[in-house]
């Protein structure tokens, strides 16, 4: 039996996980053999953008206003 959480609660957990995942991306790019460290700043910036996108998904009805953060 799975304990179902509400959509907002789930999205907040996703939001909370983003820093760790972004760190893994940075570590991966840093250690990667093909010399793509230059991608890190853009990747991190886009992950931050991702936070807005996740927030917009979590409050569907207010999504247009969430984008006003930009």
């Amino acid at each position: 039996m799975i304990r179902h959480r509400g959509r907002f609660h789930r999205q907040m957990i996703v939001l909370g996980s983003m820093a760790g995942s972004t760190l893994e991306l940075v570590q991966g790019l840093w250690r990667h053999g093909s010399g793509r460290r230059w991608l890190i700043p853009l990747a991190v910036f886009l992950c931050l953008t991702g936070a807005i996108l996740v927030l917009a998904v979590s409050v569907e009805a207010l999504a247009p206003f969430v984008y006003a953060i930009f």
Partner: protein, 242 residues
């Protein structure tokens, strides 16, 4: 207001290519709607509803075929050209084009109320289309046939709503109306958010991306075609997401 709406419908259905594209899109919407009703038939524990839903689903399937055949026939008469690409989708939503139906989350009563309103809207829209399609009798005939079935769907869903929920049918209908409005708002909010999001990301693309694009191209030029050896450490740890 009504004449303005008629003008819009007239414009939507005037051009043969747009007409064909809309009919083909209607075919998809009807087929999808039919699958939703099949799901409803499979979910309900009410044998009367199950039988009616199955009949309804077969009607939707037939409508899809009628729309598809007519759309194809119209397309065949046209010179080769683009197939529409979703330009007028919002103008021709079809029967349940603005509503997401989550059949498994519905009880019989709320589902019937929802279907009743959808069918009612569809019957009204199809009547408008019939009015403005005087110049295309074959397409008009298709809509007349479909509108006839919609009238039956509208009637049976209302009658069954009264049967399964004799006390609460009025409340269910109002709830369904509100849900349709809310769903319309969510669609609007989603579309607006999508548009704003696309603008922001496109701005980022042109402002931020160019230097990185240059570096990416340089890196690509150094990459050999063909096989690339996989380092041994990649055949291992599962804790990483990268």
């Amino acid at each position: 207001m009504r004449s303005l709406l008629s003008l819009v419908h007239w414009w939507v259905w005037r051009d043969a290519r747009r007409r064909a594209t809309n009919l083909l899109r209607f075919a998809e919407v009807e087929a999808d709607g039919g699958r939703d009703i099949v799901r409803a038939a499979e979910q309900t524990r009410d044998p009367v509803l199950r039988k009616l839903f199955l009949v309804h689903a077969l009607d939707e399937q037939r409508h899809a075929e009628l729309f598809r055949e007519r759309g194809r026939a119209l397309m065949a008469q046209l010179p080769p050209g683009p197939d529409g690409g979703g330009r007028t989708q919002w103008l021709a939503p079809g029967e349940r084009g603005l509503d997401d139906l989550r059949v498994e989350q519905e009880r019989d009563g709320s589902l019937l109320a929802f279907l009743h309103l959808s069918e009612k809207t569809a019957a009204r829209d199809f009547a408008h289309y019939v009015d403005v399609l005087g110049h295309d009798p074959a397409t008009r005939e298709v809509f007349e046939k479909v509108a006839h079935d919609e009238a039956f769907h509208m009637t049976y869903t209302h009658a069954q709503l009264l049967r399964v929920s004799p006390e609460g049918h009025g409340r269910l209908l109002w709830m369904a109306r509100l849900r349709r409005l809310w769903s319309l708002y969510l669609r609007f909010a989603g579309a607006l958010a999508g548009l704003i999001g696309a603008v922001i990301l496109t701005l980022q693309y042109f402002i931020l991306v160019p230097p990185f694009a240059l570096l990416a191209r340089r890196a690509q030029a150094r990459e050999p075609l063909g096989w690339v050896a996989i380092p041994e450490q990649r055949n291992g740890a599962l804790t990483r997401q990268y």
